[in-house]
Subunit: 232 residues, 2 copies
DNA sequence: ACCTGAACACCGTTCAAGT
DNA sequence: ACCTGAACACCGTTCAAGT
């Protein structure tokens, strides 16, 4: 008598989870936290789920969409309240944008993919809605606020993407060092303006630059009408 | 008698060029112009040069460095003069930044890699020097100018990177459409601020947004002192 | 409808061996 | 010193075949 499929292994492992978009994205997030976004590939993720890569394509269109879903899942961690920032819209906005930036700082690779592929997930929409709301309290015109939200988020995202330098990423650190070295090496004769701005050009902590960058964007938005005539 | 290596094919092809960093980068630029940056891989480039991928590693450390070299080569096309922009530093700066943006618009994939890996090539340094020079004529403090140059170039680069949507890139176009659709679909009840800013949120031509974005950054830089006390 | 193995068409990088 | 073939360790995506 030929043995049927052995039910023996049923309790040996935590039971192969039924595939679904949700468990795929959740597993992808876990994989990214433990090994970094570069390991979140269709093949590796399938391995983690005990199946073949082809199976994932039922729930996810391609790798880019998968990474976008991971990003949106992470954006769930952004603190939209801006609770302890008082009543000032500007300080509340600063709190929200800082929270967004910190989430991306923890995963600079995701920030990069956010720059490349426009996010459109639910958590991102919530963030956009909140930033619009706070920005509109500045009194700037509707057009300024509408166009401004992109600038605010773009600046935060780009800053986070650049800041991959520190955390162990050797290639990014090399880039940064190479850039700083190149600026320092620039001679007074060939690059006079670089030499003239030299201490400040590579100075300032990440925090100081971050704070200043936020103020630059917000001041710029509120001071720059969208059409020729002054705002409102 | 065994035939020696046949010299017959000597004139059949344009003579295998001697390998060097210069011919590698030049070939890479040509390959990118004809087939896009995604085809500029070590293996494909080696094939183009009639050799093996391993040979390239004598002159180029890795793929990222290769792409950085391609970017810097392209930055040679940026018009730093800002010739027909008159005497106003702001209009001259606008001309230079617009030229930079246009170069990247033609190759959005390169803009993406510029966001990810800090450029430090010779042409990039020239651009930084020029932008510093023009920005310093605004009368803003040295620190504002030094920190501002990053913001100006970061904004232009990020804008170009996003704008890959149009040109044939189907994935990018899908992203953009998905993002616009998501914004339009956002209900008044769940995302009131999005609904309230709706026509403007997805409106405006690339040119209008580009121009406004430049003014936002420049106005922000000149209006935002670096430390607590007012600039200068 | 969902899942799978196998295949196709690629990658980057290293290294021993040659010239 | 430079160049090479071959190898190692991967990729994304599709598709015919199964359940």
């Amino acid at each position: 008598m030929v043995a049927r499929k052995e039910p023996v292994s049923r309790r040996e492992r935590p039971a192969k989870p039924a595939l679904s978009r949700r468990v795929i994205v959740e597993t992808a997030v876990a994989l990214m936290r433990s090994e970094g976004l570069e390991k979140v590939t269709m093949r590796r993720l399938a391995q983690e789920l005990d199946t073949g890569a082809a199976s994932l394509y039922v729930y996810v269109a391609n790798t880019a969409e998968l990474h976008a879903a991971v990003l949106d899942a992470l954006l769930g961690e952004v603190d939209l309240a801006g609770a302890d920032a008082g009543d000032d819209w500007r300080e509340q906005l600063r709190a929200v944008v800082t929270s967004y930036t910190l989430v991306l700082f923890a995963h600079p690779q995701l920030a990069r993919s956010a720059l490349v592929a426009r996010p459109s997930g639910e958590n991102y929409l919530r963030l956009v809605d909140r930033v619009l709301d706070l920005l509109s309290r500045s009194g700037a015109s509707r057009a300024q606020v509408a166009w401004g939200v992109d600038k605010v988020l773009q600046d935060a995202t780009a800053t986070a993407a650049e800041h991959s330098a520190q955390d162990r990423d050797p290639a990014a650190a090399d880039d940064w060092n190479a850039a700083v070295a190149a600026l320092r090496a620039a001679g007074e004769d060939t690059h006079p303006a670089i030499a003239a701005h030299m201490p400040e050009l590579v100075g300032g902590s990440a925090q100081e630059r971050l704070r200043w960058g936020f103020d630059v964007i917000v001041n710029g938005i509120t001071h720059t009408p969208v059409s020729g005539p002054p705002a409102d």
